[in-house]
């Protein structure tokens, strides 16, 4: 049919018309596409990008909460920050917290997931028990921990005393306050990581373990190295990044239990930010701290994006 038509005259004439139509159609399609993307874009602009730009702008001012006016002061906030000992202490504390909580919560989460997955009985029970801290309000749980760690009548010291060990003022001692917060952080993040790892474990085909067993991976460790660990790779990257970001955001436990003390030993970035912004009303300086915090979170997100792109796992 088309062969016949191409030998006839009208076709060359028809072609420009059809290309014009084709050119108009993508434009229509583009308009529709922008129309569909529009609402989400506007929302993102209003809720995410706008406030972000606002915070960055604020960090270059001397604005104080409630003040009628402000002045642009350039990088003064940042200079002050670099010179401030409290900032460095809280940054070091935050990084220490992240470095302890991330491996702890990821490693234990994986361990618990493997244990739950390997046993047949009481799976639902263990899953629920480990997931409870995730569902509970951390502020309320922090108060429970405060009682547990109380120097005089706390459960932890009670247990220590009952086995003949000396009691300790966990949250009041500079050396153990941050560590205690780390333990609470791990306790809280563990359940969430466990659920993610469990989902990852379930998606590993059973036949791969059979193949590994036949191929000579007789020990549980060699099967873990050959199958489980590499196939959990994408999940692990995600879990590490999520735990990292959440650890950077640590605030509730610090605020309830120590208020950054004793003598700044548990002061963390967001707590400093809160103090500067809402206790001392130095909004400009708090905004500068926020920008530093965002840089860290953004870096983690970029690392995740890069690793996720490299992982090519297809069945």
């Amino acid at each position: 049919m088309s062969d016949v038509a191409s030998t006839l005259g009208p076709i060359p004439l028809a072609r420009p018309a059809s290309t014009a139509l084709a050119r108009r159609r993508p434009r229509l399609r583009n308009a529709a596409a922008y129309g569909l993307v529009g609402p989400a874009f506007v929302l993102m602009l209003l809720m995410l990008l706008g406030p972000l730009a606002g915070v960055i702008a604020l960090s270059f001012t001397d604005y104080q909460l409630g003040a009628p006016s402000f002045a642009w002061i350039g990088l003064v906030n940042y200079q002050e920050m670099v010179a401030d000992k409290v900032f460095w202490i809280s940054l070091t504390n935050t990084l220490t917290y992240v470095v302890i909580v991330v491996p702890g919560a990821v490693g234990l989460g994986l361990g618990v997931a493997l244990l739950i997955q390997s046993g047949a009985g009481l799976r639902g029970f263990y899953r629920t028990v480990y997931f409870l801290p995730v569902m509970a309000t951390l502020i309320a749980m922090a108060i429970v921990w405060e009682f547990m760690l109380h120097p005089q009548f706390g459960l932890v010291n009670g247990l220590l005393r009952s086995v003949g060990l000396p009691a300790h003022s966990w949250l009041q001692d500079r050396d153990t306050a941050l560590l205690s917060l780390c333990v609470i952080g791990i306790w809280q993040a563990l359940g969430f990581n466990m659920v993610l790892f469990l989902a990852g474990l379930v998606s590993i085909p059973k036949s791969l373990y059979d193949a590994a067993e036949i191929d000579g991976a007789g020990s549980a460790w060699s099967r873990f190295r050959l199958v489980t660990w590499p196939l959990l790779g994408p999940v692990t990257v995600f879990v590490v990044v999520i735990t990292g970001i959440r650890s950077f955001q640590v605030f509730d436990t610090v605020h309830v239990l120590t208020k950054g003390g004793p003598s700044k030993s548990t002061d963390v970035l967001i707590h400093t930010m809160y103090m500067e912004g809402f206790e001392f009303f130095r909004s400009g300086y708090a905004a500068a701290l926020t920008v530093v915090f965002l840089v860290f979170v953004l870096a983690l997100t970029l690392v995740k994006a890069r690793l996720a792109a490299r992982q090519v796992h297809t069945s």
Partner: protein
């Protein structure tokens, strides 16, 4: 190279008996197919041989040695899975290298960074490279060594799985429905390839399939399993021609065998739809079933009459479905010459030679028969 013996293997999952006492001896270098409908326990039996599953009772011997309680990795068997079970994060080369590395390198030497510093690892890796290259040349995989399984086609993945099995030189190969995930054309091709592989290696092959055509075309012997029992073991032609159980007769052969209700009379004669078949069986008078393969049904003459309800013409052959009064399912006849097809809706006579009949009792067990003179049919022949 090994003989595999299964003695009274039973397996129950909770209260369900999956295997009800299986005895089977697979000779060294033999190609045996375990065939049966899904859920008959054939894969479980294979997994018991491999050691991936523990039998409830009974004994497995490989090469004369009982292997109960021996780990799968110590049995030196290779297995090819239905899903291929390739490690998705490893390249083709590394996938094939896994069994060799597991066997020849210690846990420490397999470590990613530390292992490389150990002197033995270099030497072993060189050996392994040589062996892998030999196998991948045979299987025409050399061009894909660096690819991940996800970048390969189904047939190529299948070959990688076979390569991983060959490279370790196992005493026997176990195949668990390896062709089920391939398209029809490739399946026929791989059938020939696996049969050739068996001829070349001369190793024991145990092949599980639900496709009777695969079992018939590839194996030296087939073992038909139904409902957790081995119903018949024999050469493919023998099982096809001389089924000992009606379930075997129905499972083996495509299209399915025709089964007619019949009656064994007190005088020993067998009659079907009121006509004597020219056959005599032994034992008491009782109802029985007569099986006749579609290719043995002759159209145009005979004691029975049916209407053509459906015709399937494949070009080289055709299947004619005949509706017969008194029979619930149509009778199927295979016609070698498609030019002689009866028109749809026409009535035609049909019959079959007495020696085409396989007789089964009500429980499905085979009844031995002998030919007796059938006057009506003899006259017809004489007229012709």
């Amino acid at each position: 190279m090994a003989r595999i013996e299964l003695n009274a293997i039973r397996k129950s999952f909770d209260t369900t008996d999956v295997l009800k006492g299986v005895d089977l001896a697979i000779e060294d270098g033999e190609f045996v197919s375990l065939v049966g409908p899904s859920g008959c326990g054939k894969s479980t039996l294979l997994r018991i041989i491999a050691g991936l599953e523990q039998q409830s009772t009974g004994e497995v011997r490989i090469g004369g040695r009982p292997v109960d309680g021996v780990r799968p990795s110590q049995r030196n068997l290779a297995m090819v899975f239905q899903s291929y079970a390739l490690y998705p994060h490893l390249s083709v080369y590394d996938n094939i290298a896994v069994p060799l590395r597991m066997k020849r390198l210690s846990t420490l030497e397999r470590m990613p960074v530390l292992g490389r510093l150990l002197p033995n690892r270099h030497r072993v890796e060189r050996e392994i490279r040589g062996e892998i290259e030999r196998v991948t040349d045979q299987l025409e995989l050399s061009a894909f060594l660096k690819r991940k399984p996800g970048q390969l086609s189904g047939g190529q993945r299948q070959r990688v799985a076979v390569g991983r099995a060959i490279v370790r030189q196992p005493v026997a190969f176990l195949f668990d429905e390896p062709l089920s995930n391939l398209d029809a054309k490739l399946r026929v091709h791989m059938r020939a390839e696996i049969a050739q592989l068996h001829r070349r290696l001369g190793t024991t092959f145990v092949y599980v399939t639900h496709d009777q055509a695969e079992a018939m075309t590839m194996s030296g012997r087939i073992a038909v399993m139904i409902g957790g029992e081995l119903v018949q073991v024999g050469r493919p032609a023998e099982v096809y021609d001389d089924p000992r159980d009606i379930r075997v007769a129905e499972f083996v052969g495509s299209p399915k065998i025709n089964v007619f209700p019949g009656h064994l009379r007190a005088d020993g004669q067998v009659e079907m739809l009121g006509h004597p078949l020219g056959l005599a069986g032994s034992g008491l008078a009782r109802p029985c079933r007569a099986g006749v393969r579609p290719e043995r049904i002759e159209l145009g003459a005979g004691a029975f009459c049916g209407a053509v309800v459906h015709v399937e013409n494949m070009g080289a052959e055709a299947f004619v479905h005949l509706g017969v009064d008194g029979l619930a399912t149509p009778v199927l006849a295979r016609i070698g010459d498609v030019r002689l097809l009866p028109p749809l809706g026409s009535r035609t006579r049909f019959g079959f030679a007495p020696d085409a009949v396989r007789l089964f009792d009500a429980a499905g067990k085979r009844i031995e028969t002998r030919l007796v003179a059938a006057p009506q049919r003899a006259r017809e022949v004489a007229v012709v």
